[in-house]
């Protein structure tokens, strides 16, 4: 088993996934069902991550910009 060759390594990782989740033992239609369910869940997860992270990242960035963009204004407000 050649660890250096990436496609072989990825195939080996896929085989480990198959063994752990027992999809190695399933009939082809069960495998299709199982993988599509898994991919659907993964897709949902990625989409939720994208939306949430993007939202939080953009709001954090805006907050950071407001701190950096008007330093004098903030300092004056604190002093006053």
């Amino acid at each position: 088993m050649d660890v250096k060759s990436t496609p072989r390594y990825l195939y080996w990782l896929f085989c480990q996934f198959e063994l752990i989740t027992c999809s190695y033992l399933m009939e082809p239609w069960e495998k299709v069902l199982f993988y599509s369910f898994n991919l659907a869940m993964l897709g949902l997860l990625l989409y939720t991550t994208y939306v949430c992270l993007a939202f939080h990242a953009s709001s954090a960035f805006q907050l950071l910009c407001s701190f950096l963009g008007n330093p004098r204004e903030n300092a004056l407000s604190v002093v006053k």
Binding site: M1, W12, C15, Q16, E18, L19, I20, T21, C22, S23, Y24, L25, M26, E27, E30, F34
Partner: protein, 518 residues
């Protein structure tokens, strides 16, 4: 490390037994695997019930659908949905003598293991790591085979009677005297079937009003015999002498449950080698306890007779103890002697009683003469009475093979259960898909192994069980080890965390959580 010797120096040699704990990640992933399979099992059951899929397993008839359901319990669910998927690893048909190498008929399944068809090809010379052939007496050539062939031509194959009626041949008498001499007991009796020896003789020895203290992991034959006898059964933790002593103390102090009368007899049931764990019983401590509390000991040496001890006389010889301390020595001829049947050895009064009152003697057909001759020849070979040193060489070869194989497997990083000196080597697999994958991959590489899952083992602790043999040469073991190494890397089976476990003289009780002493 506080290495306090708790057992008062009863052991003449170090007792190295280890059961490495299941790694947490592996346990979690095993449950994940079982969870996925259970969900798919429910889906398939739903589809079978609503006729979307053809139902190929046994179900009740239409008229019986309103009765109490027969196939709804967990065992049947497991059978339909999990066992069927990996069924091709079991019941493989072999077509040669099960020696060190065996021939197997190839079979394929086109409907996912519901039915099998034979391709007609025979896979030759598969290294046999599954047969209980500890001393290599499963042969089709050699002194044993010639003697058995001669007796076959003299006596025939069938006996056509029970021991008590017309089935007591002079061969049986000769065998029993020989077995008694081999074990070092006064007298012995032989039966046609090893399972029946246990299940039919324990009811003859104990009855209601007696107490049986049985190890947690005893074989089904012992459990069946104990239940058939009608005695009260109490279980002590596996190989745990503190648990056994506590039960003995409670039994002596409190007596029978309602009436508080003393127990008529207390019988301790243990095995020499436990075949699923590979552990050896702590016999010196059991005998010390037995003497202290005046109870009786029934030792089932099915796997250990012939396989342990410097002269092959079993676990009593291994620990260097007196055979007269064990009240009932039982064993089988199936494993190390290459025959079939069982024996019970002990004092003359006991064996004479069993000759009259045992169910097996009264109702079961006696042993077939060629089988008896095979046992006689193999026992004489082990004792050295046939004039050669083959027997002694085999016993030593088995011990060397055991030590070598176990050491190499541990070095590779697998989790191996059991005692250092036991020829039964369980290799932990844990995950259900790996059970099927291991069996298939090893067969592809021409090695036959036995994999075990639920219900023979706890549900997450499935394992592959190797049985070593004196017939295995070092080259065969090296080939096997190389393939096991390869399959272990392929399937990621090297779970061991390699913590050197110090020798624990006291086994687990409720206060130790880890094998390391703090």
């Amino acid at each position: 490390i506080n290495h306090i010797v708790h057992n008062g120096g009863l052991y003449k040699r170090p007792f190295n037994e280890a059961f490495e704990e299941t790694p947490m990640l592996v346990a979690v992933l095993t449950y994940v695997g079982y969870g996925v399979l259970t969900l798919f099992g429910y889906l398939r059951d739903f589809m079978r019930q609503w006729k979307i899929e053809k139902c190929q397993n046994a179900t009740e008839r239409e008229e019986q659908k309103d009765f109490v359901p027969l196939y709804q319990d967990f065992e049947n669910f497991y059978n339909r949905n999990l066992y069927m998927r990996i069924r091709d690893s079991w019941n493989r048909p072999i077509c040669s003598v099960p020696g060190a190498k065996v021939d197997m008929m190839e079979r394929v399944s086109h409907d996912y293991n519901w039915t099998f068809t034979y391709t007609g090809r025979v896979i030759k010379d598969i290294i046999n790591m599954g047969s209980y052939n500890y001393l290599g007496f499963a042969q089709k050539t050699g002194a044993c085979q010639e003697a058995a062939a001669k007796v076959l031509s003299q006596y025939g194959a069938g006996v056509c009677s029970t021991r008590q009626e017309m089935g007591n041949l002079d061969k049986h008498e000769e065998l029993e005297k020989l077995v008694a001499r081999f074990l070092g007991v006064e007298s012995a009796m032989a039966y046609g079937m090893g399972f029946a020896t246990n299940s039919m003789n324990i009811p003859a020895l104990v009855g209601k009003g007696c107490l049986i203290l049985s190890d947690e992991l005893n074989h089904a034959s012992l459990v069946l015999g104990a239940r058939l006898s009608g005695a009260t059964i109490r279980i002590f933790k596996h190989n745990n002498m503190q648990s056994l002593e506590k039960l003995l103390k409670d039994a002596i102090v409190h007596g029978q449950p309602r009436t508080r009368r003393p127990w008529k007899k207390i019988l301790i049931l243990v095995e020499g080698i436990y075949s699923m764990e590979g552990s050896i019983v702590r016999l010196p401590e059991v005998i010390a306890l037995k003497k202290k509390y005046k109870s009786y000991l029934y030792l089932d040496e099915a796997h250990s007779i012939g396989a342990l001890g410097p002269s092959g006389r079993g676990v009593v010889d291994y620990f260097g103890l007196n055979p007269e301390d064990v009240d009932v020595m039982m064993g089988t001829f199936t494993k190390s002697f290459g025959a079939a049947g069982g024996y019970i050895g002990g004092k003359k009064e006991l064996i004479d009683y069993l000759r009259t009152y045992s169910h097996s003697a009264a109702y079961a057909t006696s042993m077939s003469p060629p089988v008896v001759e095979q046992i006689i020849t193999s026992v004489k070979c082990i004792m050295g009475e046939d004039g050669t040193t083959i027997g002694r060489a085999r016993v030593q070869q088995l011990a060397e093979n055991t030590r070598y194989f176990r050491r190499r497997l541990k070095e590779m990083g697998f989790i191996i259960y059991g005692n250092e000196d036991s020829p039964v080597v369980p290799l932990m697999l844990y995950m259900p898909a790996k059970i099927g994958a291991f069996g298939r991959e090893m067969l592809k590489r021409n090695i036959g192994v036995v994999v075990v899952g639920f219900p023979a083992t706890p549900i997450i602790e499935s394992r592959a069980r190797f049985c070593l043999s004196a017939a295995h040469t070092k080259e065969m073991l090296d080939t096997a080890l190389k393939e096991i190494n390869e399959v272990g890397d392929l399937l990621q089976l090297k779970y061991s965390r390699r913590r050197l476990v110090p020798l624990l003289d006291r086994p687990f009780d409720e206060t130790t959580y880890e094998e390391t002493e703090d």
